[in-house]
Amino acid sequence: MNQEIKKQKNNLGLWGWLGGGRYGMERYAYSLHRLTGLGILLYFILHIFATGTRIWGQEAWDQTMHALETPFFKFGEFLVFVAFAYHALNGLRLLFTELGMLMGKPRRPVIPYTNAVRRQRPFFILAMVLTAILIVLGGLDFYVL
C-alpha cells in the first residue's frame, strides 16, 4: 500500500527565469535585470584589468586604449552603457520597492482587486522612460557627436 509513487518532475527550470510568460511587465524587467547585471559584471572584471594597465605609465595606457579602438569594442561599450542605464534605473525602482515604498499600504481585499505590482507600475514606466532618454543621449554621444 505504502509504495513509493513515481512522480513526474515539472519545474520550469531556467525557462522560469527567461520566459516572462503571460504575467506582468515586471517579470520581463526581472529577466532583463538579471541579464544586464551579469553582462555588466563580466565587463567590469575585464575593465579592472584594462584600466589597471595605467600602472605601467602613459604609453602602456595609450597602447591598450588603441588596441580597443575597434568598431566591435565600441559597440560593446555602447551595449554596456545601455545595460548600465537599464540596470541603474530599474535598480533604483527596486531599491524603493524592496524597502516597501511606492506601493501604498496594506488594505482590505475589496473587488475590484488591485495589487502592489500594479500600484508601483507608473514608477516602473517612469524608470523606463528615463532609461530610454539616457540611451538616446548615450547613442548621440557614442556615434553622432
Partner: protein, 276 residues
C-alpha cells in the same frame, strides 16, 4: 447573443500522466460542448462523465474558496472553478498541472513540499509569555488599523498558484516561496505576535526573502488579492530596518482582562455538552 441553451464546441487539450503506465506525460484532446456560464472545472467534469472516466484532478468547493483546483490554463495559473470557459475567448483550452510542482497523476500536483514550506515559517501567533498564552487571563486587544496591517495577507487559501508563477521557485527547490514568506509577514505584522525573530531563520536565510526579486507574477495570479509580492517587500523592509537596528519596536499588547461580573442573558439556551 448567446443564450443558456446555445452550445459552442471547445477543444480541451489536457495533460495526461499515469505513473503506473506512462513514462512521460502526453497531451490528449477532448471536444466539450460548452454552454454559457460553464467553468473550466465544469468542462473537466463533463469530460470525466462522458469521455474519460479515468481523468484525475483535485477540486472541492467549485466556488473559489478551497483552493484545490489550481491549474495551468492556457499558460497561466488559475483556479479552474473561477474561470468561465467562454470568458477565455479561445476555441482551444490547454490544461496542464501547475508547474514547479511534481505531477502525481494527470492534473494533480504534489503540494507536499508547499505545505512543508508553509509550516516552516511558523504560521501561528508566538508570544514570549507562554504562561499567558496558554492560560489566558484576558483578551489581546487589536484595533481596526492594526487588523488592516495584515488582514489582506490572511486571506490566503493555499492554492499554490503563486509558486507556479514564481521565477525563483522554478529553479530553487529550497526557496521558501511567495506563499510561505507572505504568511511569515502576515504573522510578523500582527500586533499580537512576537515571533518575528524566530522566523528570521527562514525569512532571512540564503533561500528566503532576499531571493525574491519582485517579478510580481505571484501577485498577478493570486485569486484572493493576498498580494504575496507586496508582503515580501514589506518583510524585506522589516528585515532591513532590523539589520540596521532602526526599526520601530512593536508596541506592547494591550490586555483586556476577562470580565468576571459578566452575567449571561437567560434567553440564550445553554450550549450542548461536548461530544468528544
Amino acid at each position: 447573443m448567446t443564450t443558456l441553451a446555445d452550445k459552442v464546441n471547445v477543444v480541451f487539450e489536457v495533460l495526461r500522466y499515469n505513473p503506473e503506465t506512462d513514462d512521460a506525460p502526453r497531451m490528449q484532446e477532448y471536444t466539450v460542448p460548452v454552454t454559457k456560464g460553464m467553468t473550466v472545472l465544469d468542462g473537466l467534469h463533463w469530460i470525466k462523465e462522458h469521455l474519460e472516466p479515468g481523468l484525475a484532478w483535485r477540486s472541492s468547493c467549485r466556488m473559489g474558496v478551497c483552493g484545490s483546483c489550481g491549474m495551468f490554463i492556457n499558460g497561466y495559473p488559475r483556479l479552474a472553478c473561477n474561470n468561465q470557459i467562454l470568458h477565455i475567448h479561445k476555441s482551444r483550452i490547454q490544461i496542464k498541472p501547475l508547474p514547479n510542482y511534481d505531477i502525481i497523476r494527470d492534473l494533480v500536483p504534489d503540494l507536499e513540499g508547499f505545505f512543508q514550506k508553509h509550516k516552516s515559517v511558523k504560521p501561528y501567533l508566538i508570544r514570549k509569555d507562554l504562561k499567558e498564552q496558554n492560560m489566558p487571563t484576558g483578551e489581546y486587544f487589536q484595533s481596526t488599523e492594526e487588523l488592516v496591517n495584515y488582514i489582506q495577507f490572511a486571506y490566503c487559501i493555499k492554492c499554490g498558484l503563486c509558486l507556479a508563477a514564481c521565477p525563483t521557485v522554478a529553479t530553487d527547490e529550497q526557496f521558501a516561496g511567495p506563499q510561505a514568506l507572505a504568511q511569515a509577514y502576515r504573522y510578523n505584522a500582527d500586533s499580537r505576535d512576537e515571533g518575528s525573530d524566530e522566523r528570521l531563520e527562514i525569512t532571512f536565510s540564503g533561500h528566503g526573502a532576499p531571493n525574491c526579486h519582485f517579478a510580481g507574477a505571484c501577485s498577478d495570479v493570486c485569486p484572493k488579492d493576498v498580494d504575496p509580492s507586496f508582503a515580501i517587500q514589506l518583510l524585506k523592509k522589516e528585515m532591513f530596518l532590523k539589520t540596521l537596528k532602526t526599526g520601530k519596536a512593536k508596541k506592547s499588547i494591550h490586555l483586556i482582562p476577562i470580565n468576571k461580573d459578566f452575567v449571561e442573558s437567560p434567553d440564550i439556551p445553554a450550549a450542548p455538552k461536548p461530544t468528544v
